[in-house]
């Protein structure tokens, strides 16, 4: 397994732990990742509001860089993208390029200024796509050092890795995380909020609306030990506003929110320096207690108890 890797801006800042845990997990799975050299921002949701052309050129620049690397290596590699927003921006350009030749020409007229050419030769794949389809689930079960038996995990997919492009999962009833969760021994929470919107950027622009959406998700996951995410925006919305969401609904929330690769990394016994669970904003003391009780019974591994805040 070998991939080109596009981290995106969030993974260099607020979602550092998503980046580090992804890289460590992929290494543990024996996959080779090579970061796209000199990659740049995909435009996020800003470019689209200022110039349509810019919103296509920014992702295309990265695809062109990836193609250049593949050309030099003489092999076609898939592009692995952990951030769902970046994934969708890259994917939109690639999908339109398939059916609109003039579109590709216009993009290339701009990219010429940077000495690049976009040919749309590579596949763009979300991290969840790669984990659920390229990795043998039994492999994780076999290599797992820590069994998560007794834990219940709520798989939270969010929107943009599922829709509008149904590449690897059912966009209405997503299931791709379930086998991965089961392979660690944990139970999968049976809920129907997995693909329901976390309100994305509403949380900073229209907090009342954002909190209402986050509250709905958190209250359905109350019986779970953790919610697993695959997107920096979802992670932030679910972990950073639990107190506020509790205030508006007269409930109290305290639910551990982890990125999927962090959770799988923990199951494989990766140290905290690799899973970076120390960076998450919400890992509850109850979770740590249960987890440490369990790791002490695990086969010969000693995982130092992390400091709870």
């Amino acid at each position: 397994m070998k991939y080109l890797y596009y981290p995106g801006c969030s993974l260099e800042g607020t979602a550092k732990e998503y980046h580090e845990s992804t890289v460590s997990l992929m290494a543990a799975l024996g996959a080779e990742l090579e970061e796209i050299e000199d990659w740049s921002c995909c435009g996020a949701s800003a470019a689209n509001n200022v110039s349509e052309l810019l919103s296509f050129v920014l992702p295309a620049r990265n695809l062109a860089l990836a193609e250049k690397m593949c050309q030099e290596k003489q092999e076609a590699l898939d592009i692995l993208v952990p951030c769902s927003a970046c994934y969708l921006n890259l994917k939109k350009v690639a999908e339109r390029a398939k059916i609109d030749f003039g579109f590709v020409q216009t993009i290339n007229t701009v990219l010429e200024a940077d000495g690049l050419e976009f040919g749309n030769h590579l596949e763009i794949r979300h991290l969840l796509d790669v984990l659920s389809r390229d990795v043998e689930p039994d492999w994780i079960a076999k290599k797992a050092m820590v069994s998560f038996e007794g834990f219940t995990a709520a798989p939270y997919y969010g929107c943009q890795c599922l829709r509008p492009y149904a590449e690897f999962d059912d966009p209405e009833r997503p299931v791709s995380m379930e086998r991965l969760i089961s392979s660690t021994g944990a139970a999968v929470l049976d809920w129907n909020m997995g693909g329901v919107c976390c309100s994305a950027s509403h949380m900073s622009t229209k907090p009342e609306v954002g909190l209402a959406l986050v509250k709905r998700i958190l209250s359905q996951a109350k019986s779970a030990d953790m919610i697993l995410t695959v997107c920096p925006m979802c992670e932030m919305n679910l972990e950073a506003y639990q107190k506020e969401a509790g205030l508006v609904s007269h409930e109290s929330f305290s639910i551990t929110i982890l990125y999927l690769p962090q959770f799988l990394g923990m199951a494989l016994g990766l140290p905290q320096a690799q899973t970076r669970v120390d960076l998450n904003l919400c890992v509850t003391p109850v979770f740590w207690e249960k987890y440490c009780g369990m790791t002490s019974r695990a086969r010969n591994v000693r995982i130092p108890a992390p400091k709870a805040e």
Binding site: C9, S10, E12, G13, T14, K16, D38, W39, S40, C41, G43, A44, S45, A46, A47, N48, N49, V50, S51, L53, L54, V57, L58, R61, T106, T109, V110, L111, E112, A113, D114, G115, L116, C159, Q160, L162, R163, P164, A166, P171, E172, V196, C197, S199, A200, S201, H202, S204, T205, K206, E208, V209, A212, L213, A240, D278, L279, L281
Partner: protein
């Protein structure tokens, strides 16, 4: 923006939802309907009825969080999320004053992309606060900012000299931006 060009853009949106049969699936699927002044179905009705003014005065499209559920479920296969985004762009152009804050936000964001190729979250927020000339604005972002700073996820703006991993110029970003500006002026 000239009234004619508003009309042209509005007609493009109308074209996108032309085949709507008013079934209401979009309204029933939308997680934000509760906060909207018009449900999505109603908004499409207004678009088809050429009520440009009332459509642009609505908050509905601002409340779209791009979850793509309506696009997925619409029995006519209409690109509804895309149409919502078009209305946002249109409203921004028609009413620049009303969208002053978000303009400044996006401009600061893209300035960071132009200069560094990547977005340094703390750096671009400083720029945004500066442009807005609103001393109270940073306070709104403080609680989260403090949580993140404690985890070392964002640097203190004052100590951020642009030497981070993400802040070296990437390729010929400025040339790309310039080329786009030219192409958009003389299509």
């Amino acid at each position: 923006m000239k009234p004619e060009s508003i009309q042209t853009s509005f007609n493009e949106v109308k074209e996108m939802v032309q085949a709507c049969i008013q079934c209401g699936t979009c309204s029933g699927s939308c997680p934000n309907t509760f906060a909207m002044d018009h449900t999505p179905r109603k908004l499409w009705r207004m678009v088809l009825g050429d009520q440009a003014q009332s459509v642009l005065a609505s908050k509905t499209f601002i409340l779209c969080s791009s979850c793509y559920t309506c696009t997925l479920r619409c029995p006519r296969g209409l690109p509804l999320t895309e149409a919502m985004a078009r209305l946002v762009q249109l409203a921004r152009k028609a009413n620049p004053l009303l969208f002053k804050k978000s303009h400044a936000f996006y401009d600061a964001f893209l300035q960071s992309v132009k200069n560094h190729g990547r977005v340094n979250e703390a750096g671009f927020m400083t720029h945004y606060f500066f442009t807005m000339k609103d001393p109270l604005l940073p306070l709104k972002f403080t609680p989260l900012g403090v949580k993140l700073m404690r985890k070392g996820k964002v640097a203190m703006p004052a100590f951020n000299f642009g030497l981070g991993r993400g802040s070296r110029p990437r390729g010929k970003m400025a040339a790309i931006f310039e080329k786009i500006r030219q192409m958009e002026q003389h299509p």
